[in-house]
């Protein structure tokens, strides 16, 4: 056990720093791709709903079932279950690259659901007012639905990001690296308890920070 903090840093600083960077990489890339996929899916879920602008029972039900199926599978199983798919998409199933695919498959449907519930909160009357003014549907989506739900969207994305950080911890199993992997390999498998404590502390700070940031941003964007 290292006797001082500087000694600990000397021994583990580099590894922890590298793992932090890996976590950030995985989370940011996976989050970005998941939003690109999940947000339109969320909008589609709202718009194809019975009684809404682009009502389409078939698309709505298909999407609903598809999202529910993926969301039923725990990440650790999903990770292995879609290995062939991962390999087909990015050419490898290991490393940061190999872990992005399952992270996205796991997170995008989650984001779609969060976006759906955020957008559903928007007052139907405002949409109607814009329809009555002859505004195009795509403008209504952008300038009414997304604008009015932006505060809930930010909160939803905060939740999704925190979930994603949790998922990246498991990603270590396919060689993705990151803080979770560091804590598991060194802290658990090699009985380096300090490494475990420090990574856990880092993760707590990260999650707390993110949630506070999300809350603050949501509050700023909310005007009522």
């Amino acid at each position: 056990m290292p006797s001082t903090f500087s000694e600990f840093l000397n021994n583990w600083g580099e590894d922890i720093w590298a793992a932090t960077i890996e976590t950030f990489q995985m989370v940011s890339i996976a989050l970005l791709v998941s939003i690109i996929i999940g947000l339109p899916l969320g909008i589609l879920l709202v718009m194809t709903r019975p009684g809404k602008g682009m009502e389409n029972k078939f698309v709505y039900q298909l999407l609903n079932i598809f999202i529910n199926i993926i969301r039923s599978i725990p990440f650790i199983i999903l990770l292995f279950f879609i290995l062939p798919f991962t390999k087909w998409v990015v050419g490898t199933s290991i490393g940061v690259k190999g872990v992005i695919v399952p992270l996205v498959v796991y997170t995008a449907p989650y984001i779609a659901r969060l976006m759906e519930s955020a957008i559903l909160e928007v007052d139907r009357g405002v949409v109607e007012a814009y329809e009555a003014m002859g505004i195009k549907t795509r403008n209504i989506i952008w300038h009414v639905l997304l604008r009015e739900s932006r505060s809930s969207i930010i909160l939803g994305l905060t939740i999704a990001t925190i979930g994603l950080i949790g998922a990246t911890a498991m990603a270590g199993l396919v060689g993705g690296g990151g803080l979770g992997d560091l804590a598991y390999r060194f802290g658990h498998l090699r009985y380096e308890a300090d490494v475990m404590y420090v990574t856990v502390a880092l993760l707590i700070i990260l999650v707390q920070g993110l949630q506070s940031l999300g809350n603050a941003a949501a509050a700023r964007l909310k005007k009522d």
Binding site: G125, A129, E131, M133, I135, K136, H143, V144, K223
Partner: protein
């Protein structure tokens, strides 16, 4: 300006279908304020939503300014809707946008350039009296101010027609009065035709030129506001008018008075309400009028009043007095205003 021809709307759900509109025809003339009154569930909300096809009629046609909206393609319908303004009971503003942006965003989305948008927003926010509130958010405004923003938003498209869906129903009486004043001003100064629906008779009486009464998806009666007030035909219409004039005299008092002379309901418009006809009655005839109840309301054009009076005196003298009143332009009705079918004395 707005022509609804044989419009029917059926909502079909799992538990069978509901006929919200049953063969409704309405013609709103250019430049007038047309009111539709009815209790909730009468179909008036569906009716106004059919006027800009927010609700597509099951059968029938909707023409605005000569264009049959039901025959338009989605793109053309959007264009046509830009010339039909609409305001709502719930205001329907963007909570996340300032007053300025609430008016500006729809204009930008309709393709106006920055300069035009700015000019219009400033012009119409001034018309509704909110030039000081450009940077406020709807959450910081009162109900009346929110409705003013919604009116500015609707007017900024410079529409020919304004549809008002229970626009004052969520407001207190003073604010309602102010918003009605504003609607009158818009109608008068900008020449915008207004179709409104309401369940409040005072809205009709205050600003409308013509009115239709709806019940169970049908228009049961329509005409000028004056016609409706003076010669209501249907029970529902009478009930609405009764909501403005309530002569609540105990039945026992009425029976007591009826033995000695007669009770009459006098209604008068404009000029005759300025002349002391009743005072003259007691001077010219041996009759003593006793006012039991009465009120005068301000209609769009002129005041309209109702007096419930007891005319004490000999039968002959009373008859003469009534004839004199009719001559003076006063409408005289029945023995008993409680009866649904009032017998006209003349």
């Amino acid at each position: 300006m707005i022509q609804l021809e044989n419009v029917t709307k059926v909502f079909s759900g799992k538990k069978g279908s509901i006929q919200a509109l049953d063969d409704v025809s309405l013609h709103v003339k250019k430049g007038e304020i047309f009111g539709v009154i009815g209790y909730s569930g009468a179909g008036k909300s569906t009716l106004i939503r059919c006027a800009n096809l927010l609700e597509r009629p099951t059968t029938g046609t909707v023409k605005v300014n000569g264009v049959d909206l039901t025959a338009l393609s989605p793109g053309k319908l959007r264009e046509a809707r830009q010339k039909i303004g609409m305001i709502f009971q719930g205001f329907n503003l963007l909570k996340t946008a300032t007053v300025y942006d609430n008016v500006a965003i729809p204009l930008k989305l309709s393709g106006l350039n920055k300069q035009e948008v700015k000019e219009r927003v400033e012009k119409y926010l001034e018309i509704v009296g909110l030039e000081q509130k450009h940077q406020a958010y709807p959450g910081e405004l009162s109900g009346g101010q929110k409705q003013r923003v919604a009116i500015a938003r609707a007017l900024a498209h410079e529409p020919e027609v304004l549809l008002c869906d229970e626009a004052t129903s969520a407001l207190d009486p003073d604010t309602t009065e102010a918003i009605l004043e504003l609607l009158l001003k818009i109608n008068r100064d900008l020449g915008i035709t207004i179709l409104l629906i309401t369940h409040e008779m005072n809205v009709i009486q205050r600003i409308c030129d013509r009115v239709a009464v709806m019940e169970q998806g049908q228009v049961i009666e329509q005409g000028t506001v004056m016609e409706l007030f003076t010669t209501p035909q249907k029970a529902t219409t009478k009930k609405f008018i009764g909501s403005v004039f309530s002569h609540n005299i105990p039945e026992s008092t009425l029976t007591h008075l009826q033995g000695n002379g007669r009770i009459a309901l006098l209604s008068f418009f404009g000029i005759s309400s300025g002349e002391p006809a009743l005072a003259l009655v007691s001077k010219h005839f041996n009759v003593f009028p006793n006012i039991l109840s009465g009120s005068i309301i301000q209609m769009k054009q002129e005041p309209y009043g109702q007096l419930l009076v007891h005319l004490r005196g000999d039968k002959e003298e009373v008859e003469k007095a009534i004839e004199f009143l009719i001559e003076k332009g006063v409408q005289v009705e029945g023995e008993d205003h409680y009866a649904v079918n009032i017998q006209r004395v003349s």
